[in-house]
Symmetry: C2
Subunit: 229 residues, 2 copies
């Protein structure tokens, strides 16, 4: 396969133009990494980012007593090191090949030059990532809609315990924290709150104040006897 085609097959770059693939092909370094070989260490300068062509790479931290904590195991098509490299930070963890692997390395200085010279590259990559984010967040929504409304209802019922019906409860944590706690993202949580409001279960009275209008309904959602439409 031609180098530009291999670059075009990488999800991070999907949908860029032919010219942009050629620009990327000019700066890429094709590397073979042996099983067990270290790719970078925590604290190293983020000299560039990687994409896996084949093989497997683990990203891990070492505890003070030298124990390995694996954060991610990455395979074909997946980038690594891109977040610190884009942000101009040091690598926050170690990377090591778990089997003989082939990776594409994109050196930061050449990549930054490319972005300066052709802002369309950066804009198109922003479009690629935004499109993937949108797809991912609608998938999270689909997956969350089965369970998150029930868990949220359970939390609201818990907050309302010992209070009278129709009474107001106060979220003790931010919506972002609540979203993580429920295993979803803030966008989906907002939509579920809007749905609970529309269907008459609750009424938001402020950024953190929620009035429980139908406690029995919330209890049924929490127990799974009932589901949101």
């Amino acid at each position: 396969m031609k180098l530009t085609d291999q670059i075009a097959a990488i999800p991070l770059f999907q949908g860029l133009s032919r010219g942009e693939y050629e620009d990327l092909a000019m700066i890429v370094v094709d590397q073979v990494i042996r099983r067990g070989q270290t790719i970078f260490e925590e604290g190293d300068e983020g000299s560039g980012f990687y994409v896996i062509l084949s093989g497997r790479v683990k990203i891990f931290k070492l505890s003070p007593d030298g124990k390995e904590q694996i954060l991610h195991i990455l395979t074909t098509g997946e980038p690594f090191g891109e977040v610190p490299v884009f942000a101009g930070e040091k690598f926050p963890a170690h990377a090591q090949a778990m089997e003989d692997s082939r990776v594409f390395f994109f050196p930061r200085p050449a990549f930054v030059d490319l972005v300066k010279k052709t802002p369309s590259l950066a804009l198109n990559m922003l479009a690629v990532l935004s499109r993937r984010l949108r797809k991912f967040s609608s998938l999270i929504e689909d997956l969350s809609l089965k369970e998150v409304p029930g868990r949220l209802a359970a939390y609201l019922v818990y907050l309302g315990e010992g209070k009278k019906g129709g009474s107001e409860v106060t979220l003790e944590i931010s919506k972002n924290q609540l979203a993580s706690l429920l295993g979803t993202i803030p966008e989906t949580l907002s939509r579920i709150l809007a749905k609970l409001t529309r269907e008459g279960f609750i009424k938001p009275n402020g950024p953190r104040q929620i009035q429980l209008l139908d406690r029995k309904g919330l209890e049924e959602l929490a127990s799974g006897e009932r589901r949101l439409a």
Copy 2:
């Protein structure tokens, strides 16, 4: 709240530098949009992208007979129009306010100038989006690990029906298509296939060839009697 603080609170821009928020504040247009007002129409030039400060916006298409198909309903903090605008395309759908809303509008020409002048803005936004993508994909993995292995096992058992034990099956669709079909992303599908391989259920023999080593185990996964560790 100060303009720069309002911009800093937008997820799309989270983690940028103070200077970059000030640059964005220089080009932003603060708009109030009345309930029912059209923001853009399908086919309009992507003149800039929007972020919702308050209110609700629907993104929709119109069928040939004028019926509305809602694609997204967006609320506070969410961007819209950013994918076509980054990619330099026309708007692919209509946008209309569902209630009185306030949005920030970022005009494309000024945004492109900013990217040319300060490549760090684009790079930092790439870091922001990459970080969110990584978070989203690990969340999808957590959510998928409950159900996707079972559904994948069911599909493999189906492919192997009528064949002898230990026989090889061929995936009839690409891994990307299979991932969507199973309600997950290719990254998670790869990891689940790797797990099934490691635990001795299957053995990949090629990009689309999979040998079924433990059909009884796969059937148990499919029926939910057994789960992946």
